[in-house]
Symmetry: C2
Subunit: 207 residues, 2 copies
């Protein structure tokens, strides 16, 4: 059994834990996709369900009481491994891997498959909102301290096809506790969804 205080994790510990859990999550993502798309017969589906239930029981034999939360390592690295957008242990997350360039611009390239569908063959409008909320929120937090969404507006330019996509955002200005950001999602043909948001510095991080 792994015995650790997560807050005491070294970089090597984090790498070891990532090697344990990330491949499992990748397999569960495949399972989510296959569960939507399978046309296997009733007997096969029932047998698979029984195997999944057994797997769940083994994983739950030792588990956290609640959600994963956000942990910080001894080197100050943030582990949002349960996060719905970026969590490497969350099979709901594509996951989106957000990069930040020298200007503070955040961006991510990712792939959305069958599990993110709304209109046939296209990304659910709310999924675009989910991802843009996160990418704009990262742009609002260049110091690594979290800012929370105060408000966000999404404008849908055209339907976003399932497949390879790109998202990016910039911080446009800051006024006191409010940080303004703008961004978009695009496919190979150009922008499909635009976003503008106001992000709030939490009370505990204010001067």
């Amino acid at each position: 059994m792994l015995e650790f205080t997560l807050e005491d994790l070294s970089a090597a510990d984090v790498a070891r834990l990532r090697d344990i859990y990330e491949p499992l999550t990748a397999s569960v993502r495949e399972l989510v996709d296959a569960t939507i798309r399978t046309e296997a017969d009733a007997e096969t589906v029932a047998a698979v369900k029984a195997d999944i239930d057994a797997a769940v029981a083994r994983l739950r034999s030792r588990q956290l009481d609640g959600a994963f939360g956000v942990r910080h390592t001894s080197s100050g690295e943030s582990m949002s491994w349960g996060n719905a957008v970026i969590g490497i242990r969350n099979a709901l997350a594509p996951p989106v891997e957000v990069h930040r360039d020298q200007t503070g611009r955040t961006s991510a390239d990712f792939h959305l498959g069958a599990a993110y569908e709304g209109p046939p063959g296209h990304v659910h409008g709310g999924v675009s909102a989910l991802i843009l909320d996160h990418v704009l929120g990262e742009a609002a937090s260049p110091d690594g301290k979290p800012r929370f969404t105060g408000s966000i507006t999404l404008r849908y330019v055209r339907a976003t096809p399932l497949g390879p996509l790109h998202a990016e955002a910039i911080r446009t200005r800051t006024e006191g506790v409010k940080t303004y950001c703008a961004g978009h999602i695009s496919d190979a043909e150009g922008v499909t969804v635009e976003a503008e948001g106001v992000f709030i510095t939490p009370r505990r991080l204010r001067d």
Copy 2:
């Protein structure tokens, strides 16, 4: 093997398919949660991963080429079973079951666990956007014909805790191809996120 043209499905066929696939999806939702929360040792996790990979291979032995899409039964019922918010075959969907009352108001009661986390113990702001986009979109479509999000604005009143939640929306007015809707998410203490959106009648459904 199931051999069918989905568009020819009777109500009994739909009920039979639901009985086959819905329990599998429920088990996969448990697996997603357990994958985030497990503290099982590396050997257990690796063994579970191997079992999941085998399950995926069995399900994929016969599957749809692409995403699920939206099917219509012989009685005109819409099957959005792959949908990211309401899909009963989509383990990413909580799922949200949207009801409509006589006034056209749409509402849903649902539970969000570890897989929907953003800030520790709280719902990711983008997940609230995802669900509100869908619940408002349903309010925009009282005739059962789809309307697509033109724009939507979310205002975050306070952080939404993980757990039992409620969402609802109403259509406020229609101007030509634009239908305006408003709604919110609430917990037992009151409203946490407000939304307003404009939904567009697709060209093929216009008079």
